[in-house]
């Protein structure tokens, strides 16, 4: 009996030691994201979704202890570049994630890849990195930037809109959005406007929309711009007459909270929604709401998926990111239950996923919610995969 206890004690001690050995040397993950300014809630949600996956696994991902270093880029490509340099050079971080905005990604991602590190994007996915500049160490969990607008274009087709009025801010992502929309939309574009990125008053554009008498409006005004636009659209009495089709960045759970009932009836093309009926999503939404007391946005969902994807690859390689080939092969398998349901990587390591029709309706408590009402695309990749030679 005494010997048994001693042996047990020794085993416990040994286990304690190995655990300590692990704990002293967790896999470092660098997260550069946007936490300040009007876009700050996007990065906050990605960070919280990512952290939720780690907390659920008691400080680990795929059973491997991880240490996440979160830095705010303030939506400044230069600042993000400096952070990346520090993480890569002085802290020898081999695995990075977090960037929200494509202009930041465009500046930072080449540095990360040149240093031989991995980058797993929870959001930004500019066309270059999906096509001819694709890279074996670059993965995108969310989408390719154009795909969401292509889905919106197809949604407009399915809704039978023959004449559309489209508008977006005058910057690269805005131009990509209208380009993506026109790629799949088959009807006539009766008006196309580029607004200013710091615009606060949309009355002139609204008058033009009224004058053009389209069947519907597609707009890509992300964040605060979209809230302003929607409020003014409703106040101008247009929402009852001219319906609106959006891509998901223009309408998430948080913007919905700020717009309120004005958003009722808006139609959104999205790859994820909080009401998806699969086990992974149900437990994610419940856990997220319990922890943060707010409905997760798709940014949070993508942060969570990114963490679980990384977890699957860490598990397969025993936590050794330095075995780059094995780690990459494990990432490519995408062996994790995505909150979206079906998910896999295409040849350019961007998602092949389903796209859904969402609609803003009154929820049970009277507050507007996003409800999934149908499917737009099944197993859809992106337009640039063919240009990618890896």
């Amino acid at each position: 009996m005494g010997i048994g206890i001693k042996a047990f004690g020794a085993a416990a001690l040994a286990m304690g030691l190995t655990c300590q050995a692990f704990a002293a040397d967790p896999v470092k993950i660098g997260m550069i994201t946007t936490l300040s300014g009007p876009g700050g809630y996007l990065g906050e949600d990605v960070r919280d979704g990512f952290q939720l996956a780690i907390d659920q696994d008691s400080g680990k991902l795929g059973g491997v202890p991880v240490a996440v270093e979160v830095e705010d880029d303030g939506l400044k490509p230069g600042a993000a570049k400096d952070i990346a340099q520090r993480m890569l050079a002085s802290e020898h971080i081999k695995l990075m994630t977090g960037i929200i905005f494509s202009n930041v990604a465009g500046a930072v991602v080449p540095d990360i890849l040149d240093a031989g590190a991995f980058y797993v994007s929870p959001n930004a996915a500019p066309s270059g990195f999906a096509g001819k500049d694709c890279n074996k160490n670059y993965f995108v969990v969310a989408w390719q930037n154009d795909a969401l607008h292509e889905a919106a274009g197809e949604y407009a087709n399915q809704l039978g809109y023959k004449k559309m009025f489209i508008l977006a801010p005058n910057y690269q992502a805005g131009k990509d959005s209208l380009g993506g929309f026109k790629r799949t939309y088959k009807g006539e574009v009766v008006g196309e406007i580029y607004t200013k990125l710091d615009q606060t008053d949309f009355a002139p554009e609204l008058a033009q929309i009224r004058d053009a008498k389209p069947d519907a409006v597609f707009q890509f005004e992300p964040g605060g711009l979209g809230i302003t636009f929607l409020k003014q659209y409703v106040q101008a009495g247009l929402m009852d007459k001219i319906p609106m089709v959006l891509a998901s960045p223009s309408m998430d759970a948080r913007t919905l909270g700020a717009v309120g009932e004005a958003a009722l009836g808006v139609q959104v093309a999205s790859h994820w929604n909080s009401d998806f009926d699969n086990a992974a999503n149900k437990q994610f939404v419940a856990a997220y709401e319990a922890k943060f007391h707010r409905t997760p946005t798709y940014y949070a969902a993508m942060g969570y998926d990114t963490a679980r994807l990384i977890g699957s690859a860490l598990k397969a390689t025993g936590g050794d990111v330095d075995k780059a080939d094995a780690f990459r092969a494990a990432l490519r398998k995408a062996d994790f239950p995505s909150v979206r349901g079906a998910f896999k990587f295409g040849a350019n390591q961007h998602p092949i996923e389903d796209w859904y029709e969402l609609k803003v309706v009154k929820g049970e408590d009277g507050k507007p919610i996003l409800k999934t009402v149908g499917t737009i695309y099944k197993d859809r990749g992106d337009a640039y995969a063919a240009e990618c030679k890896m």
Binding site: I193, T200, P204, G224, T228, K231, Q235, G257, A258
Partner: protein, 303 residues
């Protein structure tokens, strides 16, 4: 008909700018203080009003809370921080008030979170009015125009007809002489700054239901506000009114009609590109033109 609607849009946007510019031009003209944090007071007004409106459901409470919060915080900032800056040069003022912007943005993030807030529209202003047949115009925007005109009238009476206004004008033209005559210029400064903050808060309250109530909303409009007071002439409320209407009109009308007009002479894509470019610049071109013609603005306040 479209033209009439766009002119109204321009007037409304201009009056929104006037509410902000009136306070800024008084502070800049009379106190010689460059206050970049004026936009923060606008944000404070909008946040406080959105918060109070959501908590009580009353627009009146939102209005009082928003204006009150902006005025009280404005005067506190004047007493605690800005008073030390009057004697220093403009660069120090810019640095200090820029610091205030960062401080207020971070404070708003800590108090209200990063997401934009919902600002309730008073239900009795939620509808639209058919001014011209077939062109419904939002009642709330008409209310903004009405409030702006009332503020303009009130400021005119205050500055032109009251003893305080006389002191403000006197302080504007010769601050040392006013002090020498035994007037407590410090008190006047605090009052003027409080008035400016009150107007910024009012603009924030009015902006809430129309614009996005979010951290950094003040900086979005700050530059245009400075353009307005430079065009109008620094320190002149009348200049701010005319300047704001000019800026609102030029901005709205070029955005609305320039691409269409250019399409008469250029191909569609060229017209869009040039039209967008020029309409983004139009306000600044206007400012440059006015400064060439009248280097001190349209209505310079200092004789």
């Amino acid at each position: 008909m479209l033209l009439a609607e766009q002119v109204l849009n321009g007037a409304e946007f201009g009056i929104m700018l006037f509410l902000l510019a009136a306070g800024l031009t008084l502070v800049f003209g009379i106190m010689g203080l460059i206050n970049l944090a004026h936009g923060s007071l606008y944000m404070i007004g909008a946040f406080a009003a959105a918060w109070a409106g959501n908590a009580t459901g009353s627009f009146l409470m939102a209005l009082l809370t928003g204006m009150g919060a902006a005025a009280v915080i404005g005067m506190a900032v004047e007493a605690l921080v800005l008073r030390r800056l009057y004697a220093r040069d403009h660069l120090d003022q810019v640095v200090a008030t820029f610091g205030l912007i960062l401080f207020f943005n971070e404070a708003a993030t800590m108090l209200f979170g990063r997401q934009p807030l919902f600002a309730r529209m008073p239900p009795w202003l939620g509808g639209s009015v058919e001014l011209l047949p077939g062109v419904p115009y939002p009642a709330y925007r008409l209310a903004i125009i009405a409030v702006g005109l009332l503020v303009a009238l009130g400021l005119y009476l205050l500055v032109a007809r009251t003893r305080l206004g006389m002191l403000i004008r006197a302080g504007n033209s010769d601050r040392e002489m006013v002090r020498a005559l035994g007037v407590d210029i410090g008190l006047i400064y605090t009052l003027v700054f409080g008035l400016g903050a009150l107007l910024a808060g009012l603009a924030g309250v009015m902006a809430g239901p129309v614009f996005s109530v979010q951290v950094g909303m003040g900086e979005q409009v700050l530059i245009l506000t400075f353009v307005v007071i430079i065009i109008g002439g620094i320190g002149s409320v009348r200049g701010a009114f005319v300047g704001a209407l000019l800026v609102g009109m030029v901005d709205t009308l070029t955005r609305a009609f320039l691409p269409g007009l250019l399409k008469l002479v250029l191909s569609t894509s060229d017209a869009d590109a040039v039209g967008n470019g020029v309409s983004s610049m139009a306000v600044y071109l206007l400012m440059a033109a006015v400064l060439l013609w009248r280097p001190r603005g349209l209505f310079p306040a200092h004789g």
